[in-house]
């Protein structure tokens, strides 16, 4: 369900305002996220789409305060009505895996290699819900069945290395769902999977999301994945959201020149023999915060004003946003 269709009085699951993250080391400073505002309604699936270095994973990690000490984070981060920035270690330990859970691209590094799958799930239940060992073990079995792992009972006593890639990913999802989180954060969880397994995991995540009514933030670089799972898509470039809107409208007619370029450069059926449209150049090094539009050096629709200050994220129609002065001008003309 899209945010605009939700009743207005419901508190959003995520409220992110003016998030800035920069990484400081002795040699250089990287401004990874430069002012991100995002809202997520309960039960909504938002895809953050972007290329490497766009700040999508950093944004996701900031929601759980998982960034390293070298990261300087500013801005308002509210998740499930709580101020994440203000939490101490003890509160964070309750919060992570309780209200909010995260799944990763590589289950082999996210799961503990020396404990069985069943133990890792049960441990989460015991830690967060204070359940007894036997209750927790029973829950672990239920969860493995929920994520559709075949012969679940036998798999409880399997170690991560004994499972195939697809099953391992399902086991990680089971750990994440152990305490029925309100919000699931997913960092490219299907990128490393084979095509026939990727679609299985995507369909599983979608059905679990509907079944449990979770909000999901799904980070990906793959437009096809976003098309399969998202309600709403936010496209990131150089640490900023450059376009946001319902998945169907955005895929059918992107507004921002970068989003247009990204869709045009993605190879899909029916492009054989045609020359691919490309985005010239490369994303900016984020040593300095870009003044003006960060996409301007690569933009085919560039005009002089593009360098005068950072464009605002402005509405286009009832439910879409774009950070481009030319799109804003078109929107203004449309209203007249």
């Amino acid at each position: 369900m899209s945010a605009v269709l939700k009743p207005a009085n419901e508190a959003p699951l995520i409220r992110l305002r003016d998030l800035h993250v920069r990484f400081e080391s002795r040699d250089r400073t990287v401004h990874a996220v430069n002012g991100v505002d995002l809202d997520l309604a309960a039960g909504e699936v938002l895809c953050i789409l972007g290329e490497s270095g766009s700040g999508k994973s950093v944004t996701l990690r900031a929601l759980m305060k998982l960034l390293p000490k070298t990261a300087k984070v500013t801005g308002e981060i509210q998740v499930a009505g709580r101020d994440v920035q203000a939490m101490n270690e003890g509160q964070l330990a309750d919060f992570r895996g309780g209200d909010v859970a995260m799944i990763f691209q590589e289950p082999m590094t996210a799961l503990d290699p020396v404990f069985t799958i069943g133990r890792q799930i049960a441990e989460t239940v015991q830690r967060h819900e204070g359940a007894s060992r036997s209750t927790a073990d029973a829950r672990a079995l239920e969860l493995l069945e929920l994520v559709q792992i075949p012969s679940a009972k036998r798999r409880l006593s399997a170690y991560p290395h004994e499972l195939s890639g697809g099953l391992r990913q399902r086991a990680m999802i089971a750990v994440a769902l152990a305490c029925r989180p309100k919000l699931l954060l997913a960092d490219e969880p299907t990128t490393a999977l084979d095509a026939t397994v990727q679609i299985q995991v995507l369909l599983l995540l979608r059905s679990l999301q509907e079944q449990l009514g979770m909000g999901v933030v799904f980070v990906t670089h793959d437009l096809g994945v976003a098309g399969e799972i998202a309600d709403r898509v936010a496209v990131m470039y150089a640490g900023k959201v450059v376009e946001e809107g319902p998945v169907g409208a955005l895929m059918a007619g992107p507004l921002h020149p970068y989003a247009k370029g990204l869709l045009g450069a993605t190879v899909h059926a029916g492009m054989r023999g045609k020359r691919l449209t490309t985005i010239p150049g490369a994303p900016p090094m984020l040593d300095k915060v870009p003044t003006g539009c960060a996409f301007a050096p690569r933009c085919p629709e560039l005009i002089d004003c593009c360098h005068n200050g950072v464009p605002m994220l402005k509405p286009f129609g009832p439910d879409r946003l774009a950070r481009c002065i030319r799109v804003a001008a078109r929107a203004a003309q449309g209203e007249k």
Binding site: E51, S52, P150, S164, G165, G166, L167, D194, A195, T196, V197, Q198, I199, Q200, L202, L203, H221, D222, L223, G224, V225, G227, E228, A230, V247, G248, M251, A252, G261, L262, G264, A265, T266, V267, H268, A269, M271, R272, R275, L276, T277, T278, I279, P280, A282
Partner: protein, 348 residues
Amino acid sequence: MPPPAPDHGGAAQPLLETRGLVKHFPIRGGLFGRQMGEVRAVDGVSLSVRKGETLGIVGESGCGKSTMARLLMRLLDPGAGEMIFDGEPVGRDDLAGGISLKEYRRQVQLVFQDSYASLNPRLPIEDSIAFAPEVHGVPAGEARERARELLAAVGLAPAQFARRYPHELSGGQRQRVNIARALALRPRLVILDEPVSALDKSVEAQVLNLLVDLKESFGLTYVFISHDLNVVQYISDRVLVMYLGQVAEEGPVDEIYARPAHPYTRALLASRPSMDPAQRRTEPPLTGDPPNPVNPPSGCRFRTRCPFAEAVCADVPPIAATLSPGHTAACHMALPGSGHSKAGGIAA
């Protein structure tokens, strides 16, 4: 820039043919490192690459496509089978009309997926590109001259880039260097093993356009190995679908994508995420992961995941049935009289 080696057999003769290529890797373990089993990475693959075409090889992890790339380059010795390059048996210079491995490796080059690991971090890129020609006897000055021409050909201005080290380049630029290096010996065949898989989408499109241009201007033939069905469809003339070390289906690209005959090819194509949220899938085309190539299933290797599997599939390995000229599928359903209840039912 010197011309490539001359053509021998004329346009009709395949540039590269393999017959029954096999590569098994032993698994050692236990006391005294006894052999415990073997990974049947490539198990009897016959293919032919025509002059001037792009042959796409597609499949999931463990299907043997990367082992295939290394076999085709002869970085690995095949356990059995033959390779014939433009009519000449490869590595059989003892025979009249054979081609030596050294000469073969001059005419065939490989581009890897990992653009960083495949370049020497301590050599400026110009020297990396000039290295192979020098090994093959080109004087240093001339080799460097050639390297600069190639850098320009792949879209990296030599004055700006020639003396840079790999870590000073982006992923897309490094992959351009790898492509330039592969072209330095003026090969006739270039094997591309997942060349764009590690790149961002906008850079991927740049490199694909470059590959198309270079094929034209250098008169190349490509073997393009990838797991990305959309990219393979874009770049290939013919496509080979591999499953657990064997060829499941082979044919012209339009034929394979419009009329896939093998149940695996159909499932693979149906697994592509749709960019249109109105056409979302509700059921996955296949369940489970690809089986382990250590102990592949008997008979047809796909039968454990195939919705149409019958008794005959477990007993008899399917042979390739011809559906239309050049389009073959190794499935009992495609072969009339195979004993499968749907035999002949999917003939195109």
